[in-house]
Amino acid sequence: MNELPAVLVSGVVSGATYALLGLGIVIIFRSTDVVNFAIGDFGTFGVYVAFALLTRGLPLLIAAIAAVGVAGLLGVATERAVVRPLGPGKTFAALVLTLALSLILVSLAGQLFGHQPEPFPALVPGHVAILGLVVAWQKIATAALAVVAMAVIAFFMRFTRLGVAMRAAAEDHYAARVVGINRGLVAAIAWFIGCALAGLAALLLAPDATLTVTLMVAPLFRAFAGVFLGGLESMIGAAVGGFAIGVLDDLAGRYVSASFRDTFVFAIIVLVLFLRPAGLLAAQHRQRV
């Protein structure tokens, strides 16, 4: 067990990607009632755009900003062209549409950029030893960004006029409209922020995992696990859930079995959801019937 601190550190830094993605999923869900299964692929597409810019000689920072921007704009375009025409309340139809969009984006990215894995440079180079584990600064930056993003978005949603409007729109579309909230604008902002976070997550993951069209498939799977663990309606819960999944995953891989790490992680999630169906950090809703 002398490697426990190193395994925990590894889990936290891995979980940061899931936390960022989970945060994006929850922002979109809370504002528009849509579970976006294409969110990871928006991020991947953004990184491919950044890669194309890098190969044309643009600086890494510009390419990185472009990656996040492209992912966000893809989200806005999807909300406007695909989700909004469905109308409010079409949760299941929207979910299926985002699944379809995910497959289309993977195929499109393959056609446009090729299926060959590509090396992607780290935004933050170098390594540091923490509790017996050598960690890339890039991964520490990811973890820090996830925490900062969580705090900023929690502040934004709770204390800003727009954030309150987004929460109100999610709670009751019609009532929000009556009090003058522009639901279209709120939805566009939520999709932009959510997908931009996915772009950031993909950007930070790509140097470690190499850039492929399926870059975000496995992280998205774990991000959703984190979201369900923390609570689909809780932003802090989604982020904490992402970190928890990273830690559980690495603990299972190291101390249980590397080939059963998913089984172990999801067995715990099933157990948690059995005890708290809304997730660990979500508010418990009770109705008298």
Partner: protein, 394 residues
């Protein structure tokens, strides 16, 4: 006299027109293209292998068709994307055989995926599967009537790796492998080889979930076992992930892997972290064009598939397809499923120019058993010794 000469010339001309310079198959008058098929992962996480392999096969058939085809007939090689999915492979097999009339599956990719298609292709449609990129010892012992292969078995590759690590005097060897049975069986062959050759050597088994991207916990686990050598039976993407993470954690061991990972992608993606990696190759190195067969391959890749590097994987598929066409070229008469099988069974010591000679018979459907050892040094694969088999003394 003059009339006699003219008559003789006319008879000779008729004879030449009818038969001379043509193969028996061509004389049957069929000039339609010969349809062959293959399935490969052209999308998804294993696409890196499928794309390189498709390019090698495509370059070969373009080269062949530009040189007149076989028996004067062009060859169409239809490749379907199976995304490394057994169900999609069966669907691809149906399309290749039912819609595209493929008379043989040539140079397809994947052990488990190809096995998933056996029932339909070999039993139901009775179409031969020739020279799969992959394979298992159970495929050829006992031989299946319509199944032929020229790729040295992964188990035999593993035995060579085990002997190589022992020859390098390592005493604590960890075998890191993906968890599906296809990988686990290969790892077990290596473990058995080490235990039988050197009972005092400590062998450790580390199973990893297939398609793992985060190798930090795996490397921590390996580090805790204190091996002096690691043999990796993983996909290329995972080998790269392991090498990068091991370098980051400062884990220094001898490192070995098997032939599917001898590729330019390992160099491109892992960079200096892959330096020193010992591996195996089915073919002669593609960056040494002193052999005429390799030169043909490299020139064809540059001419027909310029976007893909002339790599070990593309070279292997070039060889797989070349062996199949060599069998077809021996057919006299109708080219169909039955005649292809007969031609393959009569193939003896065929030299493709890029790999060891191939021999099949009615009872031997695996045509090759040797492998070339290579090592990555300074960003380049270099030869280690000559071709060796699992029963060779290194």
């Amino acid at each position: 006299m003059r009339r006699t000469l003219l008559s003789a010339a006319a008879v000779a001309l008729l004879f030449v027109t009818a038969c001379g310079g043509q193969s028996p198959a061509q004389s049957s008058g069929d000039t339609s293209p010969i349809q062959l098929g293959a399935w490969m992962p052209l999308t998804g996480s294993i696409a890196v292998h499928g794309l390189a392999q498709r390019a090698g096969g495509a370059a070969y058939f373009k080269f062949l068709n530009d040189h007149g085809g076989v028996h004067g007939r062009k060859v169409v090689w239809n490749v379907e994307d199976n995304a490394y999915d057994p169900q999609k492979t069966v669907a691809a097999a149906h399309k290749l055989i039912d819609q595209e009339n493929s008379i043989a599956i040539v140079g397809a990719n994947g052990t488990a995926n190809t096995a998933a298609a056996f029932s339909y292709v070999l039993d139901q449609a009775q179409v031969p599967i020739i020279d799969t990129y992959g394979g298992d010892s159970t495929w050829y012992s006992p031989p299946k009537p319509l199944l032929f292969g020229i790729q040295t078995l992964y188990e035999d590759q593993m035995r060579v790796l085990a002997k190589w690590a022992l020859k390098d005097s390592y005493k604590n060897i960890a075998i890191v492998h993906s968890d599906p049975a296809a990988f686990a069986n290969i790892a077990k062959a290596g473990s058995d080889q080490i235990k039988s050759t050197s009972p005092s050597t400590n062998v450790m088994d580390v199973a990893v979930k297939f398609n793992t991207t985060d190798y930090a916990p795996v490397v921590l686990q390996v580090r805790n076992l204190h091996p002096d050598a690691v043999i990796m039976i993983l996909s290329t993407a995972e080998v790269v992930a392991y090498l990068k993470q091991a370098a980051q954690q400062g884990l220094k061991t001898g490192i070995y892997t098997y032939a599917p990972n001898s590729s330019a992608d390992v160099i491109r993606l892992a960079g200096a972290d892959a330096d020193g990696l010992k591996s195996e190759a089915f073919t002669l190195p593609p960056d040494d064009t002193s052999a005429a067969g390799v030169k043909d391959f490299v020139n064809a890749m540059q001419k027909y598939e310029a976007g893909t590097p002339a790599d070990y994987e593309s070279e292997m598929t070039w060889a797989l397809c070349k062996v199949a066409v060599a069998a077809i070229s021996k057919i006299s008469g109708k080219i169909d499923k039955e005649s292809i099988v007969k031609a393959l069974q009569s193939m003896s010591n065929y030299d493709s120019g890029v790999m060891p000679p191939i021999t099949f018979s009615a009872s031997q459907h695996l045509g090759a058993s040797k492998i070339q050892r290579v090592q990555l040094t300074g960003g380049k694969w270099t030869l280690v010794g000559s071709y060796v088999g699992a029963d060779s003394n290194l």
